[in-house]
Amino acid sequence: MKLFLYVLTQVCITLVSVCGIYILTGLTGMFSLGSAAFMAIGAYVSGLLVLKAGLNMYAAFAAAIIFSVGIGYVIGFPIVRLRRDYISLVTLGFGESIAQLILLLSQFTGGAFGLIGVPRRVNVWFTLISAVIVIAITAFFKTSKFGRQCIAVKSDELAAQAMGINASRVKMTAFLMSCALTSFAGCLYAFYVGYVGPTDFGWKKSADWVIMVFFGGVNSLTGSIFGGAFLTFLPQYMQALNKYRYIVYAVLVLIILNFKPNGVFGEWELSPRNLKRLFSPKKNRREDV
């Protein structure tokens, strides 16, 4: 049971960042390989604020998120102006630089040893509630004017501009949302594990989140959440075949990408309307959205 709770916590923390990536990549089609760096910023800043400055945990979380959004704003400027395929490169470079900064500021961050002794004040219920709140926020974001504008910019940026949508501001909002959520995930991680290692936030971790969104369903929040939960559970429960773990993981994702390209859930969204539609009698059901 304890193991299930531990893995559940990990799933909740991953879902918080997967929601951020869903807004950035799922809704707005921007591809970042550096989002894990914002998780690192969130973890280190909140940890240090509590350890060195004695702030209470919630104030430290808020400060860490605001700090990450600030950095996101600075790095966001080039991102919203550049062509789509450069975004992954700029964020990749940014992620590597943050990893170096963490090592260089070793007197604060503990350098290669990582940040030790962060008080473990976050339990599984805290992460569960945070995940539910973040999912709700993302769902509201998607159905709001911001969500629509993101999808419009993703589908056709020029036409969106012609309809009066400020594409740069929309991309910036989506990017800052993803920075905020991934750094919140970082805070949760730091205060659950009690230790933040410098090398756990490379570009492979950002790529994993994107794979989770695609696996579940790039246009559907429900799909991304399923993708995040399933692909986090899988490795932990495959301890037995540990050598083959990565192979099974990769084969599974490849199958989904090849045969069900828009993910296990496709466009389907868990909404009361769709549920009613799914289980209503066959005859009056038109092809659902």
Binding site: L3, Y6, Q100, D200, K243
Partner: protein
Amino acid sequence: MKKYLAMFLAAVCLFACFGVTAFADDPIVIGILQDTTGGTATLGKSVQKGVEDAIADINAAGGIGGKEVQFIEYDTAANVDTAIAAYIKAVTVDEVDFIIAPPIANIVNGLKAMTASFDVPMITLAVDPACYKDENGNIYSSLFCAQPSTTVQGTIMAEFALQNGFKNFGVFYTKDNSYSVALLNPFIDTVREKGGALEEANIIGYNSTETDISTLIKPLIDAGVDAIYCPNYTAPLVLIKKTCDQLGYTGAIITGLDGAPAFNTQVGADCSNVYYINNIDVYEEATEKMIEERCAEVGAPNKYFLGYDSMQMAAKIMEEVGTDAAAITEKLSSYSYEGMTGVISIDPETHMPVDGTPMFMYKYDNTTPVMLQKYPAE
């Protein structure tokens, strides 16, 4: 129809995840948590084999107090999250009596916060003293180390280098590797105390992802140092040695445990200028026999023997006090055990071997290891 298929597929996958593993009956169970995949798997696999062979020998000699000893292997995959999941599975689902944990400081730092809430005794081989203390310095009760700390190793290497007439030192270490950083200060402080020359400019750190070793190490060679201290893993060490040869560096290269054999064959060139430290005296007759018989494809023989001794020490203690966790930890905190790597006596303050634990300095004659000195000298 397609939608039902997707829902069914999702449900099956989620259900498959909750399968519960079978529960072993009541023999003594040892949890072997090691990195068998990822960057440090060579070390992890060597420790794992050492512990397995020790358990085989113990069972051959009648087990512990007549009870058969079994083991369960967990792969920590050089990643903190996986290590924690494996640890919790070991202590809760499989309820192991004793854990042998990886020799990697990052992993132990990640695990130690968890050990406070479970009191299963755990021996690890991470040599960085910080791994055994929480942030205000008090020791985790059920966490122990069976290998001399980096302070011990760093000091011995510095004393050895000074005694052998090296004067002007350079340091080339891996910044993002906590093992390497932990071995840094003991060496530097001892050299500076005992009159060796080591300017700040000659201490160069680089990243394990960086590949242009020639550009990085050139300042040291230009500074004309007569010995470069390289506390890095074996793979980068081979590269550093080759680059130094190419750049025409003839001074000494002093490495940590990772300069031990298999390094010489992988360099495939004259290693006479390489000095390294080791926990075992390979020419001591029992050790030599064991290396031939069992360590054919073991990547790091010294880690094999450390794993072997840790398991034997744990077995001796459980022989005396049974499998009650509190009794084991209490006994272990001041226990002393004579094994293949010499006498391991745990210091209650640091839960690490006291400073007197023996270590051996080696040199290569072309590519064959030559044992030079035993520390502390008899």
